[in-house]
Symmetry: C2
Subunit: 429 residues, 2 copies
C-alpha cells in the first residue's frame, strides 16, 4: 500500500493561531479517492526543524505532501530547507521566473527580490504549475520518498491537489482505481445504532460504509472501489436507505438547510419563519444560500411575548394559559407568520435553550416546533438532553424543524420518531 | 528552552473526519502561558505507528503531550503502545480500578473487561487524575522525554491541561514565570497596517505583541513575561489603544456580539433588529448568549419588499425611488422596527451579498446599515470587496452594524472610518 504522509508548515498553524483546515480537507479529499494517509507532522518556521523532518520522514514514506512555506517572505523556507536536506543548491527556474515577470508586467508592478525568491527551487526539483498564484509547486525525490510541495493558500492548495497531485499519484503509483462515493445524511439516530443496523447488510466486494459525525447530523458514506463495486453502488445506497427508513434526511446535501433550499428554490412556493429560541438561526442558515430570496419571504424573531402578540397575533390568553413554550403558542406563531403575507409554508420554534430558564415541568431542552402548510398544521414538543449546550439545542431544534418541512414538501407525514430525540407532545390538524 | 511537542492520535483526526480542534486549543493555551510548541505529529490507530512515533520523538523532546487513545475500545491503544515502546508490561493501577468500581457501583452498572482496560497502565507510569471521565491520564519517562497522556474528549483534555499538565511543567521544568496577557479586538484595519503602527512603539522588556486573524476581526495580543513586564502591561495596553484609536472595538471579548451583549445585558435598554442581507445573523449571534432576552425584543428578517412594507412600514415610494439597498430604506427599516414596541435602539441592514444580484451602480458587496437611537438616526452605505464570499460579506456587515451600536451605547459618534472598508454614503439626523 502507498505510504502517504503530510507535513504542514507554518508557525500560525503550529501555534493554534489558525486551525489547520487544509490538513482536514486534504485527508478527506484523499479518502474520497480511496487513498489513506498514515502520518502527519506539523512544524513551525525553523529551518533546522524543516530539514530534520524532511530527512526523517523520507526514510519511511513513499509520498509526502508538504503544505505551506512557498510565499515570498523570509519566514517561507520550504524550498531552502528541501535543498539543504538533499545537500544541493537552489537554482532559478527560468520558466517560473518568466511567468512571474509576465504577471508583474501585466499588473504594472516591479519584480522585487522577494518575488524572485519564489522562482528559486532545489536543483533536482521538478516544477509543478500553479495558475492561481505566484508560488509554484515542485517535487523532489529524497531517500525513498517523493516530496511534493504545495502552497498554503487554501484555494490554490485545493486546485493543485486535484489538477496536479492526484494525477501525479495515479501516474507514478498506479492509484487510478475506479472509486465511487455516495453520502447520506441522517438525523436523530446515534452512530452506534446506525452501525448496528448496517453491519447486518451483505455488501458486495469493494463496497464499504463509513460514518462521519457532523452535529447535529451523522453522515453515512458508501464507498465503492473497483469497477464492479462502483456499478453496484446505486443498489447499495437504495438498500441502506431502505434499511434506515426515516433516519435518512438527505442524499448528497451536507445539512438540512441545503436540502430545504434545493427543494424550495424552484418550487414557486413561499416560506415564512417565526423563531423564538432558534433566534434567527433557521433564517440565517437559509440566507447563506444565494437564491434563498426566491422563496424565503421573512423570518420574525419574536423573542419577547409582546412581539409574539403584536406581530404574530398570538393571543394573550394562549401565552397566559399555556406559556410561550407550548404547542398552542407555536401553532399560533406559525399560523400568524403564514397569514402575514399569505405564505404557502411556515415554521415556528419556541423553547428553552438554557443554561437557565428551565422549570420542573419544562426543563432546559424543551422545544416546541410548529409547521403550517396548505394542508394543515403540525406541532410537536421535544425534550432534548439537558447536558447539551445552548448552541447544540438551538441547532438540533432547527434540524427537527427543517425535517418537518422537508417531509411536508415531499408529501410525507411531517412528524416521525427519532430514537435519540424524545417527544413529549404532538398536535395535528 | 523547553522542547515541548504534541502527538495527536486517532484515525478520525488523521483522516479529516474531524478537524483537530484540541491541537489548536492546546497550542493557544500554552502560548498564553508563554510556552511554545515546536512540533506536532498526528497518527492513526495503528499500534506500530504509535510505538515508532513515541520512540522517535522521545529522542528530541523534553515533554510530549499525547492526546487521545485512552478509551475503552480496541482502537484505543495509547497505553499498550507506550508499554511496548518502553519494553515493559501493562500493570493494573489499583487506585484507578477502585475509582472505576466506585463509579460503576454508584450508577448501577457492571464492570466490563473494556472498562478494566482503562486501569491498565505501563509498569513505570505515574497515574494522572481525571475527575471528569473514566480515562485516567498518566506519564512515562522514555529517553529524554516525559510522555504525558491525556484523554481526547475536549472538556476532559482542557481540565487536565490546566489542573495537571501545567502544574507538572511548572514543577518539573520551573516554567512558572509570571505571564500576563491582554487581548484587544480590532475591526476594519488590516494586520500589516496594525503591525506598521505598533512596530514603532517602544515596548518595555518582556512585553511582546502578537496578532491573530479571526475574521472579520483582527485580534491583538499583548504578552508580558516576567514580573516587571507584567506590572507595565496595563500601561502598554493603554498605549496600544491610544495608538490604534477607533480600530480597537473591544477589550477582552472575542467578537462584537459579545461586546454588545455585555454592554446591553444589564443596561435596562432594549433593542430591535431589522435584517435583510444579514438574514438573521445579527439576531442569531446575540441569541447565542444566555440572557440576551433581557434586551433583545425582536428581530425581523424582512427579506422581501412586501415584508419590509407590511411589517416595518417602509414606504412603497422609498423602495421605488431609491431601491431596497439604500440609506432611505434602512433608515425607515430601523425607525419602523424601533417603533413597533418602542425599543430604545434599533439596527437595520440591507445589501447585496452576492454572488448574483449586483449592478453597475450597486455591485455585490454594497450594504446599507441603519441605526436609530433615542438621540437620532445614523445610516451609512459601505462597499465591501466583491471578491469576498457571501458569508464574509454578511458577517462583516454585522460587525460594522454592531460597531455603530457599540459606539452609540458609549456615547461616541456611531460612524467612523475603517481603512479597509470603503464608505460611499452617509446620512445623519
Amino acid at each position: 500500500m502507498l505510504k502517504l504522509e503530510m507535513i504542514c508548515t507554518g508557525e500560525e498553524v503550529l501555534s493554534g493561531q489558525i486551525v489547520d483546515t487544509n490538513a482536514a480537507w486534504f485527508a478527506n479529499a484523499l479518502m474520497e479517492k480511496g487513498i489513506e494517509m498514515s502520518h502527519r507532522v506539523t512544524v513551525g518556521d525553523r529551518l533546522e526543524d524543516l530539514v530534520a523532518v524532511f530527512q526523517e520522514r523520507s526514510q519511511t514514506a513513499d509520498v509526502i505532501v508538504v503544505n505551506g512555506g512557498l510565499g515570498p517572505t523570509t519566514d517561507d523556507m520550504s524550498a531552502e530547507a528541501m535543498a539543504l536536506a538533499k545537500g544541493e543548491s537552489l537554482v532559478e527556474n527560468t520558466e517560473w521566473r518568466e511567468r512571474l515577470e509576465g504577471w508583474m508586467q501585466r499588473y504594472g508592478r516591479m519584480m522585487s527580490a522577494n518575488n524572485l525568491k519564489q522562482a528559486m527551487l532545489p536543483a533536482s526539483a521538478v516544477m509543478v504549475d500553479n495558475p492561481y498564484g505566484t508560488a509554484c509547486g515542485f517535487r523532489v525525490k529524497l531517500n525513498r520518498a517523493w516530496l511534493f510541495f504545495t502552497p498554503g493558500v487554501p484555494h490554490e492548495f485545493k486546485k493543485m491537489t486535484y489538477e496536479q497531485f492526484l494525477p501525479f499519484i495515479a501516474e507514478e503509483f498506479g492509484q487510478s482505481e475506479v472509486v465511487g462515493l455516495k453520502k447520506l445524511l441522517t438525523l436523530g439516530h446515534g452512530e452506534s445504532r446506525l452501525g448496528d443496523q448496517l453491519e447486518r447488510l451483505n455488501l458486495p466486494d469493494g463496497v464499504t460504509i463509513g460514518y462521519r459525525s457532523s452535529l447535529p447530523y451523522n453522515e453515512i458514506k458508501v464507498f465503492a472501489r473497483g469497477e464492479s463495486a462502483n456499478a453496484a453502488l446505486g443498489e447499495v445506497v437504495d438498500l441502506v436507505k431502505h434499511t434506515l427508513g426515516d433516519a435518512v434526511v438527505s442524499e448528497g446535501h451536507p445539512n438540512l438547510a441545503a436540502e430545504i433550499h434545493s427543494l424550495m428554490e424552484n418550487s414557486g412556493q413561499s416560506l415564512s419563519l417565526a423563531e423564538s429560541c432558534t433566534g434567527g438561526l433557521l433564517a440565517s442558515q437559509l440566507v447563506d444560500f444565494p437564491g434563498s430570496s426566491r422563496y424565503l419571504q421573512q423570518a420574525l424573531v419574536t423573542y419577547c411575548n409582546e412581539s409574539k402578540m403584536k406581530l404574530l397575533d398570538v393571543s394573550a390568553n394562549t401565552l397566559d394559559s399555556y406559556g410561550a413554550v407550548s404547542l398552542e403558542t407555536v401553532r399560533e406563531m406559525a399560523q400568524g407568520v403564514k397569514n402575514l403575507l399569505g405564505s404557502d409554508y411556515a415554521l415556528s420554534t419556541s423553547g428553552i435553550a438554557g443554561p437557565d430558564g428551565g422549570s420542573d415541568e419544562k426543563p432546559v431542552g424543551t422545544v416546541a416546533i410548529g409547521l403550517a402548510t396548505p394542508l394543515g398544521e403540525w406541532c410537536q414538543m421535544i425534550q432534548l438532553p439537558q447536558r447539551l449546550s445552548r448552541t447544540m439545542i438551538r441547532s438540533l431544534s432547527c434540524a427537527v424543524a427543517y425535517d418537518m418541512l422537508r417531509r411536508a414538501l415531499r408529501g410525507e407525514d411531517p412528524i416521525v420518531e427519532y430514537p435519540s430525540v424524545r417527544r413529549t407532545q404532538v398536535w395535528v390538524r
